[in-house]
């Protein structure tokens, strides 16, 4: 489709929905917005009938790609299938006002209470808070908890350790909380280098943010030792839950020595990703740190569910109670999986990844760094060889996958692997699809050697071809809104230098 931008619909006095009007009320009161603050500029919204709106956005949807359309092997994103029952169960909270009397929303609180317990159990923590609407928010909460924890002990620790393979959110969150970020190098096995770690840790170390399995898909087998090193110096060990899917039901962060864990319900617990959000998160902690969780959390007090503020709580991360509708979605996922099913998630996702690795072994141009160890939820390949041989990059390979009915993997991450393809095969993709994906990737590499131009020019079958990133970001052409386009056409706007 070649759908116009909605502001280019130039209908006359159309309206897509009727607003209830009450003439009696209008007759009874005579009020007018004070002139001083009245809006005088005309609001240039398009004027469309319901059909036009529906047709426009339906057509746009057809130009999008979701899990329901095909496999999305995005590493660290855990694009698993989102069961349809979830969309029904969120109706429980749809019309509940967050400030309703607590006696009128006991059903919602019961659900949240059960979820608190379940997520704590899954991670080996003592308690959880759903204040965090997403992973990054969970990280910030965790880092802020760490900070307050040390402050309460009158310690001014200024450094936060982060693995060099970590998700970008880790250092970003640490920095937002005012920490200096210290990167911990990965060793030749793809794991945290213990010697370096020991060297780095000192009385200034607030904590260590780690994801396990790490972004290479490798389990940090020295995790107990890492834990000892951090805790010996009274640091806090923080678990980035983005990769929890690889070990869910197999091992728990709490049992590995982690003190704080954030969980992305939209990854591990199948809440749909919604084109980038909304997600839902949980921030969990054990021992003393649980007292620092953001408030409110839910307690069952004599059979009545109440909102409670943990004693040393860092405060609120969300205006209300986090993304409750999505927690309800995750709730139905857990009910549908049962303990039996949830306990199989780590195993089946790990099985899928290693199956895919085996199918892709020995493909010319593609290498598996840190070979010889089983991956967990994800795997990172390098197409550096391909690039050297043919000039075709990970970026090109990604585009070529779009032509073959698949979404692309995460590329150029983690930064320690050159020309990285970071592939996560979740437990919800059938074996046949894994086979097809492996075949597609093999086909791309073969074509890259045989007919590189074809790959360089891909994608061919998408609604647009490769996009001009320079024009998109250039001071004289950057166009973040239609308003900018309009003002530029009217010469009312400068370069964005």
């Amino acid at each position: 489709w070649d759908e116009p931008i909605i502001f280019d619909f130039k209908g006359k006095q159309r309206q897509g929905i009727i607003i209830p009007e009450d003439d009696e009320i209008k007759n009874e009161i005579q009020v007018e917005i004070p002139e001083k603050i009245r809006r005088n500029s005309e609001l240039e919204f398009p004027q469309m009938s319901e059909l036009e709106v529906v047709r426009h956005y339906t057509r746009l949807s057809q130009m999008s790609f979701g899990v329901d359309i095909g496999m999305m092997p995005l590493g660290s994103c855990t694009m698993k299938y989102n069961p349809k029952i979830e969309e029904k169960t969120q109706e429980l909270v749809e019309n509940v006002h967050p400030l309703q009397d607590i006696s009128t929303m006991q059903g919602v609180l019961e659900l949240l209470y059960e979820m608190q317990k379940w997520i704590a159990e899954a991670t080996g923590m003592d308690n959880c808070s759903f204040q965090v609407p997403a992973g990054a928010s969970g990280e910030l909460a965790g880092v802020l908890m760490t900070k307050k924890f040390h402050e309460n002990k009158n310690q001014n620790r200024t450094e936060m350790l982060v693995a060099d393979t970590a998700h970008g959110t880790n250092p970003a969150s640490a920095a937002m909380a005012g920490y200096k970020v210290i990167y911990v190098k990965t060793n030749e096995k793809g794991l945290v280098d213990l010697d370096i770690l020991k060297e780095i840790v000192n009385e200034n170390t607030a904590g260590f943010m780690l994801t396990n399995p790490n972004t290479l898909g490798l389990f940090e087998e020295n995790i107990m030792e890492i834990s000892k090193i951090i805790h010996n110096d009274n640091g806090v060990l923080y678990y980035d839950g983005a990769n929890l899917n690889g070990i869910l039901g197999v091992a728990r962060p709490g049992d590995m020595g982690f003190d704080i864990v954030h969980v992305n319900l939209h990854k591990t617990f199948a809440v749909p990703h919604g084109g980038g959000g909304p997600g839902a998160g949980a921030i969990c902690a054990k021992g003393e740190l649980a007292e620092y969780l953001p408030y409110p959390i839910i307690e069952n007090i004599d059979g009545k569910f109440e909102f409670v503020k943990p004693k040393k709580s860092i405060g609120k991360m969300s205006t209300f109670y986090g993304n409750v509708a999505n927690i309800a979605r995750a709730y139905s996922y857990i009910l549908g999986m049962g303990a039996e099913g949830i306990s199989m998630v780590g195993k089946m996702s790990t099985l899928a990844t290693n199956y895919l690795i085996t199918k892709l072994k020995g493909v010319k141009g593609m290498e598996l760094p840190f070979s010889g160890i089983y991956r967990k939820h994800e795997v990172v390949f390098s197409v550096k060889q391909l690039m050297n041989d043919t000039g075709i990059t990970a970026f090109d390979v990604a585009k070529a996958l779009l032509d073959r009915g698949f979404y692309a993997p995460t590329i150029y991450f983690p930064p320690i692997v050159e020309e990285a393809l970071m592939i996560e095969a979740t437990e919800t993709e059938p074996k046949e699809t894994l086979d097809e994906f492996a075949d597609a990737l093999k086909n791309i590499l073969e074509t890259a050697y045989a007919n590189p131009k074809d790959i360089l020019e891909s994608p061919h079958n998408t609604s647009v071809r490769r996009l001009d990133q320079v024009k998109a970001n250039y001071p004289s052409t950057i166009t973040p809104t239609y308003l900018v386009k309009k003002l530029r056409n009217q010469n009312k706007i400068n370069l964005l230098k």
């Binding site: 502001f7 900070k147 199989m344």
Partner: protein, 456 residues
């Protein structure tokens, strides 16, 4: 487990292991230290997988545990009830949208990108601010990000905030910005319910990074001295952050026309259900000034062309983001509220130029009608004299918790209690005259009873 609808490969385990060359699944975890292997099923859910029917039944059971209130509540305080058109729900139910991911591969996601660009453009038009990101979490989070951004720009730590702002937003902002040592300074409000400009002037100093104010404010009152505030700030090189109820902007002057630097708000009132508080969508916008734009948090979609010259959309200014810049990013945010941005686009498209004005008018009229009605029946009076939108704070002659309990016994959720005898009420297009009159009658009833029992 033999079969599960969401685990398609249970019957392929052996076959897949053979391909891999492993004996059993546990082998795949041979690098996990034995002592931390769980070796028992998690105690989660209700053990056995439940059927969809059983899940539905459980959800219905929970629904019955909620009180079956008459919808809508007369409650605001940051979220107000509105009707969500079926077309909005239908578009969001398109799984090309809701099961998609952040559009890092723009060629496969033009529809999603365009819808998000349209969201940004709607906000830009409504706010008259040139640059809008494609969402933050909520109003509180957006305020926190605006404060952190101000701090990044001018390195200062003092933030002036008014006492008539939503206290929940303040809580969130304080929590988020604690790590950066941000300090909050309060400004009082006057008897009209508006910011006390004299007090504001007194609080201004060279240490101030930014001034925040909310329009209409927490009490529903319109601030009328925004020009003065912005001028004051500009003179001192202070950044201005304006929080807005986007629906009210159909009637009142948008932030862009005041020349504020950053505008924030929550999109709940323009197409998002109450959702027991979340998810909602934090609006974030800045002026066309690269000093501001380059410090913006969050994802931005921009217009460009493809290699054949065809119009296309892609993520822009990505060098600000965490995945590229790590600790030097302008925010840690990655997962945002994109899908709800589409909801807002669809909703505003349905409303259009006339509809949004009509909707805001109805809200304005109905809230005034309710206040008048309460006052005319002699049930108390509005706390503040300033004109208002959607919400107002009302002082009753008796304890509000008595009124509230009575209303609850009638399955009505009344206003939000503020102090002993007052509450903040909210009225929208969903509250018909009949419903408003019914509420007033019930309040009259309980006040009469209480006063009679006092006399008696």
């Amino acid at each position: 487990m033999e079969m599960h609808p969401w685990l398609p490969n249970l019957k392929y385990i052996d076959e897949m292991l053979t391909t891999i060359g492993a004996k059993n699944i546990d082998d795949l975890f041979n690098d996990v230290p034995k002592e931390i292997l769980l070796n028992r099923p998690l105690n989660i859910g209700y053990q056995k997988p439940l059927s969809e029917y059983e899940i539905s039944s459980r959800i219905e059971e929970l629904e019955r545990k909620n009180k079956q209130l008459i919808f809508p509540p007369f409650l605001g305080g940051g979220f107000c009830p509105h009707y969500i058109p079926q077309a909005v729900k239908m578009i969001l139910s398109r799984s090309e949208f809701y099961t998609s991911y952040t559009p890092y591969q723009p060629e496969a996601n033009q529809g999603l990108l365009q819808a998000l660009f349209e969201y940004q453009s709607y906000m830009a038009e409504l706010l008259q601010m040139e640059v809008v990101n494609s969402s933050l979490y909520d109003w509180g989070g957006a305020l926190a990000e605006a404060i952190l951004m101000s701090n990044r720009i001018n390195g200062k730590r003092r933030i002036i905030i008014p006492k008539n702002m939503n206290p929940l937003h303040r809580d969130v902002a304080e929590t988020w910005t604690r790590g950066k040592g941000i300090e909050f300074v309060d400004v009082n409000y006057n008897s009209e319910g508006k910011i006390d400009i004299n007090d504001l002037e007194n609080k201004i100093s060279n240490e101030v990074s930014a001034i925040y104010f909310q329009q209409p404010n927490y009490f529903g009152i319109f601030e009328t001295e925004i020009e003065s505030i912005v001028e004051l700030a500009k003179r001192k090189g202070i950044i201005t952050i304006m929080g807005v109820n986007p629906l009210s902007l159909a009637l009142i002057k948008p932030p862009g026309e005041y020349g504020v630097d950053i505008a924030i708000g929550d999109a709940q009132e323009i197409g998002i259900p109450l959702n027991a508080g979340g998810p909602s969508l934090g609006i974030f916008a800045t002026r066309w000034d690269s000093k501001l734009v380059r410090q913006m948090p969050g994802r931005i979609v921009g217009l460009t062309e493809d290699s054949s010259g065809k119009r296309g959309f892609t993520l822009i200014l990505q060098t600000r983001e965490q995945f590229a810049r790590r600790e030097k990013a302008t925010s840690n945010i990655t997962t945002n509220e994109a899908l709800l941005g589409i909801a807002v686009s669809v909703y505003l498209s349905l409303l259009g130029k006339y509809g949004i004005k009509k909707l805001a008018d109805e809200v304005y009229y109905r809230s005034h009608y309710a206040a008048k009605r309460l006052q005319d029946r002699g049930l108390g009076k509005r706390r503040f004299t300033g004109d208002f939108f959607e919400e107002f704070l009302f002082d009753f002659p008796i304890d509000y918790n008595k009124i509230n309990s009575y209303l609850l016994s009638k399955n009505i959720q009344g206003g939000l209690q503020m102090d002993a005898k007052s509450a903040l009420f909210c009225f929208t297009e969903l509250h018909s005259k009949q419903m408003i009159d019914f509420l007033v009658e019930q309040i009259e009833e309980v006040i009469k009873n209480v006063e009679a029992s006092k006399l008696g």
